[in-house]
């Protein structure tokens, strides 16, 4: 007797359709708001002439990097190279998308990380979900994102948020769990409320770990934003996609180089913001 196929795929489809049908309005509102944020940020970035923007970033790098001249010069020249390759507008679009999705991802991930560090039950629920989210091929997220939000920046953003959250959650949880026992005892012994204990002792002590999570979240956002070009997210990823479709090595490589430059700048900035 043949065992009938268990309809896992069909079930997932039903769930997605149900969400699409019954929560359509909410999805539309979310879509409008995030689209507004992304384009708002994008317009702001494009207000600066490229050379001014490159200089501002260079100066910021100099101070954030604690007078690191190499980082300052590298950042400025990297951005000028992007402008030179004619990828400025696309790059700003990518940066807007990355910053928006990473911020939203962190807004969800850090509280979730705290909850799962504090609550045994939450930990046991969240942990397998994280395993699932991290091992599921990232392309799979694109399908429901498209169904819910159509094509464009917003589905790319949603897929990116889902993809970029797990390390931030994990590292926040880890950071709080690794706060030395004596320190939490200090907080308790002097009569802190749970909120005071969290904000005055645990989060500051866990900050290096949390910032490592922030860094990871931003880097993963960047890599996913590129893939999200397949469902219509704009930016450098789209340029790479066109390069692939037309087998245009030059165009693909230039766009790829732009992504690398942005990645390095974002990585160094977040690393330097981490307290030692």
């Amino acid at each position: 007797m043949a065992i009938p196929k268990i309809p896992i795929g069909e079930g997932m489809e039903k769930v997605v359709n149900w969400i699409e049908d019954d929560f359509g309005i909410l999805l539309d509102i979310f879509s409008d708001v995030t689209d507004y944020i992304i384009s708002g940020l994008n317009d702001t970035l494009l207000l600066f002439p490229p050379i001014v923007f490159a200089l501002i970033i260079g100066i910021a790098a100099y101070f954030i990097g604690k007078k690191d001249l190499k980082l300052a010069i590298g950042s400025t020249f990297g951005l000028l190279l992007i402008e030179n390759m004619g990828l400025w507008v696309l790059s700003m679009e990518t940066i807007s998308l990355v910053l928006t999705s990473a911020s939203l991802a962190l807004l969800i991930a850090i509280p979730l990380g705290i909850v799962s560090a504090k609550n045994e039950f939450a930990y046991h629920v969240i942990k397998p979900l994280l395993d699932l989210m991290q091992t599921m091929p990232s392309f799979v997220y694109l399908i429901p994102a498209v169904i819910f939000f159509g094509l464009g920046n917003v589905p790319g953003l949603v897929a990116t948020i889902v993809f970029a959250m797990p390390p931030a959650i994990r590292l926040t949880t880890l950071g709080i769990q690794q706060v030395p026992k004596e320190l939490t005892e200090v907080a308790d012994a002097f009569g802190s409320t749970p909120w005071q204990k969290l904000t005055k002792v645990e989060l500051p002590t866990a900050l290096p770990s949390i910032m490592a999570g922030v860094n990871q979240c931003i880097m993963l956002s960047l890599s996913m934003v590129v893939i999200a070009a397949m469902i219509g997210a704009r930016g450098l990823g789209y340029q790479v996609l066109i390069g692939i479709q037309r087998v245009d090595i030059g165009q693909g490589f230039e766009a790829g180089l732009g992504i690398v430059i942005i990645a390095i700048i974002l990585d160094r900035f977040t690393q330097h913001l981490t307290p030692k």
Binding site: E182, A189, F190, G191, Q196, T205
Partner: protein, 334 residues
């Protein structure tokens, strides 16, 4: 005090309920801490108890002053006020000038001073100290112990001090509780524990202790009996010495204040010449305080036995002869 695993840190943490006691009461000012609700417990922890930790447990991202003022900060005390109180506490522990330092820049001894200042800043009635000096170098540890004793003298606080070092316990403790396998083996003063160990465990525990540091003049002295009145005669003195088989006798006045000492030779020549006690006695007597530890008496007693033990006002309490010191030191070897 007790060895590791004896339950001493657990017991200490039960006092402020960092560990929930499963049974029993903790009575503080007539109230049971063990059954206090979380609000009440927080109040007790904020106002009545301060704690010092073994590994200092300073909050790494805060300056010395902000660490010290932590207890005040969470009580919602204004920045100005807690800075004033925090600086006072820092000065008390001798760290003036380090207020804005990062704690990681300080040595172990200094870090624990910060820990102590943090516990003192809220002016609690009780200090809980969990192996507070165990992580320090021997020299620094001894220095901190002396300072803690001086602080205690000045501030008159109750200190519950957990230690696995018997010498430390004997030095610091007015009363010492020895724990063994989660049980109380004995509670008493240092002398109690050394001279009358409650059981085999305690006596084995204290076997290696240098008794001369702990035992005091008071514990080894004998009753000064007989003594002779300053108004008496050398003849009576001779009589008393002969009866008790001693070679000298202390002279006291009516209030039992020590006036001098008469030796056999002086008494014999004095009684022949018909002099009074006052004439034959020498007022040059080696006297000591009842709290003087034995190790300070041993070098003296070689040359000047007997030693008189007197109160500050000169009242004679007892006498120490060479034999009684030896007796006290060998008491355990039996």
């Amino acid at each position: 005090m007790g060895l590791s695993g004896s339950g001493k840190s657990t017991l200490l943490r039960c006092i402020n309920r960092l560990i929930e006691p499963t049974a029993g009461n903790i009575i503080l000012d007539g109230e049971d801490v063990a059954t206090a609700d979380s609000e009440k417990l927080r109040e007790i922890r904020r106002k009545k108890m301060g704690m010092v930790f073994q590994n200092f447990a300073l909050i790494p991202h805060r300056t010395v002053l902000d660490n010290v003022a932590y207890g005040l900060e969470i009580q919602g005390i204004s920045k100005e006020e807690r800075d004033v109180k925090g600086k006072e506490a820092i000065e008390t522990v001798g760290l003036k000038g380090y207020e804005d330092s990062k704690t990681s820049q300080l040595s172990g001894g200094m870090q624990q001073r910060v820990g102590l200042a943090r516990a003192l800043a809220t002016d609690p009635d009780i200090l809980l100290m969990d192996e507070a000096f165990s992580a320090l170098d021997p020299l620094i540890r001894s220095e901190m112990q002396d300072e803690l004793l001086a602080l205690e003298e000045k501030m008159q606080k109750t200190i519950v001090f957990v230690s696995h070092d018997l010498d430390e316990a004997l030095k610091l403790g007015d009363r010492i509780m020895i724990m063994h396998d989660g049980q109380i083996a004995q509670i008493g003063t240092a002398e109690n524990i050394l001279t009358e160990p409650a059981d085999d465990y305690v006596s084995k525990f204290v076997a290696g202790v240098d008794r001369t540091k702990i035992l005091t003049a008071e514990t080894v002295m004998k009753r000064a009996d007989p003594v002779i009145s300053i108004n008496s005669s050398p003849k009576v003195a001779l009589q008393l010495m002969r009866e008790h088989g001693i070679s000298s006798i202390f002279v006291v006045n009516r209030e039992k204040h020590l006036k001098g000492i008469v030796s056999v030779d002086d008494a014999v020549s004095g009684s022949k010449a018909g002099k009074t006690i006052k004439d034959v006695m020498t007022s040059d007597v080696t006297a000591t305080n009842p709290d003087t530890p034995l190790n300070e008496l041993i070098p003296i007693i070689e040359n000047s036995s007997p030693i008189a033990v007197t109160k500050d006002d000169g009242k004679l309490l007892g006498v120490i002869v060479r034999g009684s010191v030896l007796g006290a030191l060998t008491i355990e070897e039996v």
